[in-house]
Amino acid sequence: MYYRSLSVTFVFLLFQMPNILIVEDHPVVVEGLQKLLCDKGITANCLVANTVKDCLLTLNVITPDLILLDYNLPDGNGLDLCKTILNMKPFMKILAISSYKEQSLVMQMMENGAMGYVLKNASEGEIIEAVTVVLSGKKYLCEETQNILNKKNSNHSILTRRELEVLKFISDGFTNPEIADKLFISPLTVDSHRKNLIVKLDAKNTASLIKIAFQNKYL
């Protein structure tokens, strides 16, 4: 009898606990996060996906309450994955957990719909806070990320959807007329985007544009 009620309580607790999907390829980080979330009583229901593909397959069968999303994945990146997930499940709560401190990346991630951004070197307290806040439906940035975003002279602005498309084609070596054909816009417009990108990323020419775009993880 005692055992029975205990297990009923346990099952009940499991139902109450949020489902969290960790999308991360480093086993050490995964274990650390799982242990932390479990120890602090946030959840015992941690699912893990090591790749973009894994993540999407998992999401086909289950809708977690929260996704912890890494940037570097073996078959893609968290930035694009964030968008893909939200196309599938527009109300998904996504917390980016990353070691990258580039302002542009943090901004793009939030722009792509993540509800929070926390650095991997943040304190345990901050990570737990981030998880709890995002689970409750609010936005969260860890302290260091806030500082990164508040930095003055932030000359990196958000790139528009079209600018990102043009940038991608430029880096693949396509010419203005070719890009124009692909995007159904005029070659003059492609050139406007190219010029804007050069100003926005503070580049001198197309070659340095591509380099800076890579460094800032736009590509």
Binding site: R161, N196, K200
Partner: protein, 137 residues
């Protein structure tokens, strides 16, 4: 009606205020970003461009069902480029001028008067983009 900020601060400040207000009064996120080197322009440019952006943003609010709108102004010593991009439902660009509306036609004729260029592209389900460019002499 000419907004006071346009007279006092020029396009950058006025567009930024306008977008902030639109952002606050609509469910859509309206974001303004300026890049480059700001300089005041001839008044007819400032007024014309302000009106153009107003119409494009109002259109996005009225028709696009987007949740995000970016208004971008890139100014260089001899070039001015404005972009209005939404992530809404898109529309048939070839049908502009066929309905009752006059907004986009007046946008086009304003741009012509100012010797500028506009390219409109739109994709159903993805959004619309208006890109406007002027050579500054």
């Amino acid at each position: 009606m000419m907004p006071e900020t346009l007279v006092k601060m020029g396009l950058k400040g006025a567009l930024s205020d306008f977008c902030d207000n639109m952002n606050a009064s609509n469910s859509m996120t309206v974001r303004f970003q300026f890049v480059g080197q700001f300089e005041r322009l001839e008044q007819k440019f400032e007024i014309g461009i302000y009106r153009i952006i107003q119409e494009l943003v109002n259109n996005a609010v009225k028709h696009s069902q987007a949740d995000k709108l970016i208004v971008q102004m890139v100014q260089e010593p001899h070039r001015l480029c404005l972009i209005v991009e939404d992530n809404g439902k898109g529309f048939d660009v070839s049908a502009i001028g066929q309905g009752k509306g006059i907004g986009l036609n007046s946008v086009k004729s304003r741009i012509e008067t100012l010797n500028g260029r506009i390219d409109i592209s739109s994709e159903f389900g993805k959004g619309s983009e208006f890109i406007i460019e002027f050579i500054l002499l």
